[in-house]
């Protein structure tokens, strides 16, 4: 089709179209109708010609038979008419038949229309169903999508919860870390604070000491000056002076700091007497405080040697009493043999006085948070050191039962704590396989030695610390070098150590039910004690020498006390029927008169030879 816009550009096209239209108008339309009608007329005229010819021939025939009656003519005409009527009738019959056929066809058409309508309705219903199904499908799809969405949301929520949980875990871990560090810091700070306090106290002590030393120096100077002056010696005067001076100094010593011990444990202090020799003689004459102490020392050492000879074998139980609520673990005599200390699982240390064959309770020392494992008096008998299952060792003053120091630092229960011979240091052995050396002035742990095995008992000489361990070894430590000098292996776990009074022999008790005496100079086992029926009851069963070193006493698991003779090596006494449970510890009084044994059943028995 030519576009109207293009016609402006193509005038020739329009021209041609117009020309064609014009031509057609002129040449065709003008003549079309005319020619058509002409041809029809021609046809008609031809037909008429044919008809007329036919009629003419008929007429000629008719004229040839002119003689015939006009009726025959009419008859012929009738015949013709009849023919025509026949033809007409035939045509009408045909017409009626055709009408009938048309009626039948119309009927068919109607039926088919009905069918078509039915089919249409079916199709409609089907389509409606399809629509319904499609709607249902879309609904279900939407539901499905919704569910998928909610599932995703849940997953996301779950994921976020998990993430949060992880984050919380991490924070928790971090907080735990922090707490741990905080507790460590706290402990460190507390210990530092304690150290500071101890330092302060030490400073105070130092100050006091300096003061005292100054005064002493001054006194000495005065003494020295006075000594230069000749004086008349009068025996009676001397004694009076001595007595008076004694009283004076006694008064004077009354107000000194409790840190200065008046009496010193003789057996442990023998080695210390020589250094004070020169002053000894001087002060001896003038009866100064020092001399008092040293003279007492001397007196005591005599007494101690005298004590050694008065050892009596226990034969009878003088007093059986309940010492504690629960197991009694440790027992110890004070150096003066007057006071007995027992410690038990009821966390108390009880002090008893041995008076005429009876133990009277003097008091109890509180402060421990768990059971007491070992007790020791210092050489003067004024301090009591107890090791406890609460990982700490504690020191009380005996006179006023006040807790003075708590030494913490072990990470396991402390099984043994002992004073070193200078009374200024403590060594403790613990279940945590370490030995700790504590300085009493600063009250801090000076050294921690890793022993490798839980330490059950400790004894000290002036150079050496001996510890008995779970791994059947006895370790010898040099105090100054702070290292192991020797190790001795036994056949069973070492449960107890004890030194003889002259510190040349070491008594060990081990779980293989054997007691051994080791000579410290030759490092050889001198004696082995065993007995039928003697069984070591626990890992901490304590055994003891007699004060003179001639007997050895040990308690058995069945409650029997065994006493062996050191020289002969034979069992001397078997004392039973007093204890109903295993004996935990035995102690021999330094005076040799009494033996005390304590058992698991909270009983303590006082033995003597009366």
């Amino acid at each position: 089709m030519s576009d109207p816009g293009g016609q402006a550009k193509r005038p020739w096209k329009k021209h041609i179209a117009d020309q064609l239209k014009q031509r057609d108008r002129v040449q065709r339309q003008a003549f079309e109708e005319l020619i058509h009608q002409y041809n029809r007329l021609l046809e008609k005229s031809d037909l008429q010609a044919v008809w007329s010819e036919r009629l003419q021939t008929d007429k000629f025939d008719h004229q040839n038979r002119h003689d015939l009656s006009p009726a025959a003519e009419a008859g012929r005409g009738d015949a013709l008419l009849q023919e025509m009527a026949h033809i007409r009738i035939r045509h009408q019959e045909e017409l009626t038949e055709l009408h009938k056929k048309r009626g039948e066809l119309a009927q068919n058409v109607i039926e088919l229309n009905n069918l078509i309508q039915l089919k249409d309705k079916e199709i409609q219903t089907n389509e409606a169903q399809i629509l319904q199904y499609q709607r249902r499908i879309s609904e279900l799809e939407a539901e499905c999508r919704g569910l998928g969405g909610s599932l995703q949301d849940l997953e996301r929520a779950n994921q976020t919860l998990r993430d949060e949980y992880d984050a919380l875990q991490i924070t928790f871990g971090a907080l735990e870390e922090k707490l741990r560090r905080a507790t460590e810091d706290n402990q460190e700070l507390v210990s530092r604070w304690m150290a500071e306090k101890a330092q302060e106290a030490n400073l105070l002590n130092a100050e006091n000491e300096k003061d005292i030393r100054r005064r002493q120096a001054k006194l000495q100077k005065d003494l020295a000056e006075a000594a230069k002056e000749p004086l008349p010696i009068d025996l009676d005067d001397d004694i009076e002076v001595l007595q008076v001076l004694q009283e004076d100094t006694a008064e004077a010593t009354g107000d000194t700091s409790p840190g200065r011990a008046i009496s010193r444990t003789p057996s442990r202090r023998v080695s210390r007497s020589p250094p004070g020799g020169i002053l000894d003689s001087l002060t001896h004459i003038f009866g100064r405080r020092r001399s008092v102490s040293l003279s007492l020392d001397a007196a005591e050492t005599e007494r101690s040697s005298a004590v050694c000879t008065e050892v009596c074998l226990p034969t009878t139980a003088l007093h059986t009493f309940d010492a504690h609520d629960g197991e009694v673990n440790a027992v110890c005599f004070s150096p003066g043999s007057r006071v007995l200390a027992t410690g038990g699982m009821d966390r108390r240390v009880k002090l008893w006085e041995v008076v005429s064959g009876h133990c009277q309770m003097k008091g109890s020392l509180l402060g421990s948070n768990a059971g007491i494992t070992s007790i020791e008096f210092d050489s003067a008998g004024s301090y009591l050191l107890a090791a406890s299952n609460d990982f700490a060792s504690r020191m009380w003053t005996v006179d006023d039962y006040r807790l003075r120091h708590t030494l913490t630092g072990h990470s396991g229960k402390v099984l043994a704590a002992r004073f070193l011979l200078d009374n200024a240091r403590i060594v403790s052995g613990s279940y945590d396989r370490t030995l700790k050396l504590w300085d009493l002035r600063s009250k801090v742990c000076m050294k921690t030695v890793f022993a490798g095995s839980s330490c059950n008992d400790i004894v000290c000489t002036e150079q050496c610390v001996m510890s008995g361990h779970f791994d059947k070894k006895v370790r010898f430590w040099d105090i100054r070098a702070e290292s192991i000098v020797r190790e001795l292996e036994l056949l069973g776990r070492v449960t107890s150590l004890d030194l003889s009074h002259d510190r040349t022999q070491l008594l060990t008790c081990s779980r293989d039910d054997l007691l051994k005496i080791i000579d410290l100079r030759s490092n050889a086992v001198r004696q082995t004690f065993s007995a039928q029926g003697f069984k070591c009851g626990a890992d901490w069963t304590r055994v003891t020498f007699s004060p003179d070193g001639s007997y050895v006493a040990a308690g058995s698991a069945d409650g029997t006390l065994f006493v062996w003779n050191v020289l002969t090596g034979k069992l001397d006494r078997t004392l039973d029927k007093q204890h109903s449970s295993a004996i935990n510890a035995v102690a021999w009084s330094p005076s040799g008169a009494h033996v005390v044994s304590v058992d698991k059943g909270s009983k303590a028995v006082l033995w003597s030879d009366i």
Binding site: M1, S2, P11, W12, K13, H15, I16, A17, Q19, L20, K21, Q22, R23, D24, V26, Q27, R28, A30, F31, E32, L34, I35, Y38, N39, L42, D46
Partner: protein
């Protein structure tokens, strides 16, 4: 492409009112009335004049019947020219209807071809188509068509079926778009006074630089005298009874104003002042 359906329809359905009169010399039994007919421009005389023959056979004695031939004003009409061409060439400016005289005797053997049956006309028609396609597409399109397609073309013409004919003829009017037109334009220029029957030469529809050649270019090259000069028109250039403008592109003319035999028949006649 031949899109202008209106033009195509007008061209196809063009008619010429004709009056056939029997030659006086013919012996008739009765007086023969003239026969009037609207002849299709695009067809051939012997194809559409059966009715004429029948009409005149009614009045002619059987023994005198020979091949019918036609004549106009003394000129025997060649049946193998399209009727429109014959009319435009001989009688375009005369009064309508076109009066043709029908002869049955004395067939002019020198001037006319015999036409014993329709298959002769068909053969002539098909050969014109092939010749035209040879010019347009080197004969490729018509050779690709099947025998039934050729038959369809002929039947379309014979039965005067526009759609049937153009269903096939469309293919013959196509050209590859990069060419811009046919290879050569199939055309014939007829003149009344000439020793040659017609002018037919090679002519490209596009100039070498791509301009479309117009009718004027064609005439300038083939028949320069036909172009009016100095405001004086000596000749009329008639195609299908109309005078197209000389600016008409010759490619478009070939697509739309060709006869069914795919040729562009152009008649150049002396201009008359009327």
């Amino acid at each position: 492409m031949a899109d202008d359906k209106d033009v195509l329809r007008d061209v196809w359905f063009g008619r010429i009112p004709t009056c056939f009169t029997l030659n006086q010399d013919e012996i008739t039994e009765r007086e023969a009335e003239p026969f009037y007919l609207l002849l299709p421009r695009v067809s051939y005389l012997t194809l559409v004049t059966d009715k004429v023959k029948k009409h005149f056979h009614k009045v002619i004695r059987q023994e005198d019947l020979e091949e019918m031939w036609f004549e106009y004003e003394g000129t025997p009409l060649k049946w193998h020219y399209p009727i429109g061409v014959l009319f435009d060439l001989h009688a375009s400016n005369t009064a309508l209807p076109w009066s043709i005289i029908v002869h049955f005797k004395n067939f002019p053997e020198q001037d006319l071809l015999h036409c014993p049956s329709n298959s002769v006309i068909e053969a002539h028609f098909m050969s014109s188509i092939k010749e035209a396609d040879a010019l347009k597409h080197k004969g490729q399109v018509v050779n690709e068509m099947q025998r039934k397609d050729h038959k369809q073309l002929w039947m379309g013409l014979q039965n005067d079926k526009f759609d049937q004919f153009w269903a096939m003829n469309r293919k013959l009017m196509e050209y590859p778009t990069e060419e811009g037109g046919f290879r050569y334009i199939p055309f014939r220029i007829y003149q009344t006074m000439s020793d040659r029957p017609f002018i037919q030469k090679l002519f490209r529809p596009l100039s070498p630089d791509g301009h479309a050649h117009t009718l004027g270019d064609l005439l300038k090259e083939m028949f320069p005298a036909a172009i009016p000069q100095d405001d004086e028109q000596k000749y009329q250039v008639i195609i299908h009874g109309i005078e197209p403008m000389l600016e008409t592109p010759v490619q478009w003319l070939s697509e739309h104003l060709s006869h069914p035999d795919n040729f562009l028949h152009i008649c150049v006649i002396p201009a008359t002042n009327d």
